[in-house]
Amino acid sequence: MSTVAESRLKRQGSLEKNPGLSRWLRVHRDGTISIYSGKVEIGQGVLTALAQIAAEELEVALERIRMVPADTSVSPDEGVTSGSLSIQDSGAALRRACAQARALLLERAATRLNVPAGDLRVEDGAVRAAGRSTSFWECADDALFDCEIDETATLRSPRDYRVVGKPAPRRDLPDKIAGRPRFIQDMTLPGMLYGRVVRPPHNFAGLISLDDIKVKSMPGLATIVREGGFVGVLAEREDVAISAQRALRIAASWKEIDPLPRDVYAWLKEHAAEHRVISEKENADVKSRGVTMLEASYTKPYISHASIGPSCAIAQIDDGKLMVWSHSQGIFNLRRDLALALAMREDAIVVRHVEGAGCYGHNGADDAALDAALLARATGGRPVQVQWMRDDEFAWAPCGPAMALSLRAALDPQGNIVDWQHELWSNGHSSRPGRSQGPALAAAWHLSTPHERPSAINIPLPSGAADRNAIPIYDFPNQRVVNHYVREMPVRTSALRSLGAYANVFAIESFMDELAQAAEIDAIAFRLRHLEDPRGRAVIDAAARRAGWSNWKPVEARGHGVGFAKYKNLGAYCAAIAEVEVGREVRVNRLVLAVDVGLAINPDGVINQIEGGAIQSTSWTLKEEVKLDARGIASLDWEHYPILKFSEVPAVEVELIDRPELPAAGAGEAAQGPTAAAIANAVAHALGLRVRELPLTHEKIAAAISQST
């Protein structure tokens, strides 16, 4: 690996923050190796891929690797498992840690066997030389790894890989498929009580009064906990806690809130607080050649995480120490915010990760942890489990922000884009714990001394947030991209898979098609004409070939379309081609995706992530919109927030372009934007009419048709 990659790794921080070798691994006498990563399994298969990396550099069998769930008391602090960075951050750190560990083990083995290190023959941890033998398991002790990772150990060459780059079955799936307890929702501790929290209809609303007389006498109810406007119940039985929660909801009266905006996109444009030009290129000569001007506006609604399993946590307070089990993406940040909310010292709190249902960004996991901790203060040391109900999850988990986008461009007489303008309006895309002065945990805003509700912020470029992928990857001589940040939040927003990239790529790639049509050039040829990046061109070509783009036969009400992006303009390349049929609703028949993540650690894991990302994006694009009414979020169940069903899921084909010599990039967020754009372009192709408002429902299509006539 090049020195450029090394210095980038340093900046990324996993080793910089956690330089001690013993922080990352421990070799045991029984022939197993514990690997400590700060990254967590959220349904994406990352612990399997990290185990492959460790097995590869240690040159031991994959089965010897034990991945230790992240825990603030033992694991390296690797921030948040987000942004498709786990392989880059934790993978790169583990690779170096394991290479150094192996070198130290071999050094010790050589001393023990009294031979030069070069004479050792090593196989799966067994070391032989001169007719004698020892092993990693005999050579290791706690002192051996008590040093800093200096990054001098030789890394294995990708050409020699035997574990990395080969499909590996997910390590967590045997339990999950057998139905064995594995999720935090399944965890039970001795003496555990079940808790539920009674929440207002909207997170701005406060409690006025609570008539809890009738509920207090409910059989089986342990207690009602009240701290200011925070109301919770505890019971020996989970079903009793739920009944009490329901009854208290009816018995509580909440302050009215200001009505939410009817037209959220107009509201965003009126309330922008900061206007930042994030990219500007000027070439007046070329600009003056523009003859055809186009402009178009696009919108993307609030989207819900909508995990099948609502958020859950367990907390226990014992002798002034708080222990929390959580499916949080960032256990160290959660610990910090718990300390702030509970006025405790951070070192009196341990947060341990336990796997939860699918996580697609900042959901309610962290909030549920504070809920459980607050209720655990009232149990005299008994642990408390809190699981949110379905409506809690829809109403209270942060939403992916609504966005409005306006694009303008000019074409020269030959059909080249000579000017490109992109403006976007959005709330921030992160209100995660650990990033603002106060705790970013819902219950903290309703305590007797309430903490201030933080506004969502944006991660700066190059990763970006609302403006993620807003800067076009195409080569335009003139361009201007403006991010209008809206601080005030009608509903709570935070990170949802791919952040602003979903809307920005949808808008950019839709507009590219509108321009191609104006220039009377094939959509793929038009993209290639404006794209130099060879890896980008390769995925577009591969997808077009696999889909049979140039052999398309026109059929009434059917269309095909393409979408392309390089995630964050830094990570994975992905091109998608969609084939659709438009009747009363849009049906996506087929999706073909070509993806380049550099080195694919677990190729089947990459394909699984791309398939899943594409299908989830199809669901967002065709169906999903959080509905608001005067009281707050009105889509509180699956009937009002429908997602894609089995019979509606398209055939998905993924072509992986293998580049073992290039650094590995994450795959979890590469497909969302390209898929949305491909579907929108296919719908436009089928209808001969552009629909610029997501989701592409019957109502939105009908509105676009009536506007065009």
Partner: protein, 156 residues
């Protein structure tokens, strides 16, 4: 008021003292420690808590104990026999047909009910049979492939 209920779970008879309106889901998960049946929505809309009641997939979250009493109930833990996985479960492993796995139990239950009725379903019959189950991670196609694989292994 609590009552005593006789339940037949995964072929074994068990008795339970509880409020008749207690959802079967909590009896399974918390009284009988069968955690494979999972809470998703509480109103039968997502399928995460599906169990077989007299061979029909039904949401345990929406089935009060009084209506389950005396009936034969199969949970995901009871799909296999004697510690051996059901062919569907083996096929799900072979196809790596999951991401988070939270919806998996309910989907296995729906698929088992389908194969019991229709041992050689077409792909669209599989999709139709799983339409009451939601999956959020986008593992649908792998799961459909796994069901078809299991079908071909059970009834070649």
């Amino acid at each position: 008021m609590t009552e005593r209920f006789r339940l037949i779970i995964n072929g074994a008879e068990t008795a339970l003292e509880a409020d008749p309106d207690t959802p079967l889901l909590y009896a399974l998960r918390n009284d009988l420690e069968l955690k494979g049946t999972r809470f998703g929505c509480g109103s039968g809309q997502c399928g995460a808590c599906f169990v077989l009641i007299d061979s029909h997939p039904a949401p345990a979250c929406d089935t009060p104990l009084w209506s389950a009493a005396g009936k034969s109930i199969t949970t995901v833990e009871g799909l296999g026999t004697g510690g051996v996985l059901h062919p569907l479960q083996n096929a799900f492993l072979a196809e790596q047909a999951a991401q988070c796995g939270y919806c998996t139990s309910g989907i296995l239950i729906s698929a088992a009910a389908l194969l019991a009725k229709n041992p050689r379903p077409t792909e669209s019959e599989v999709r139709a049979a799983l339409d009451r189950n939601l999956c959020r991670c986008g593992s649908h196609n792998r799961m459909v492939r796994a069901v078809l694989r299991a079908a071909s292994e059970i009834a070649p």
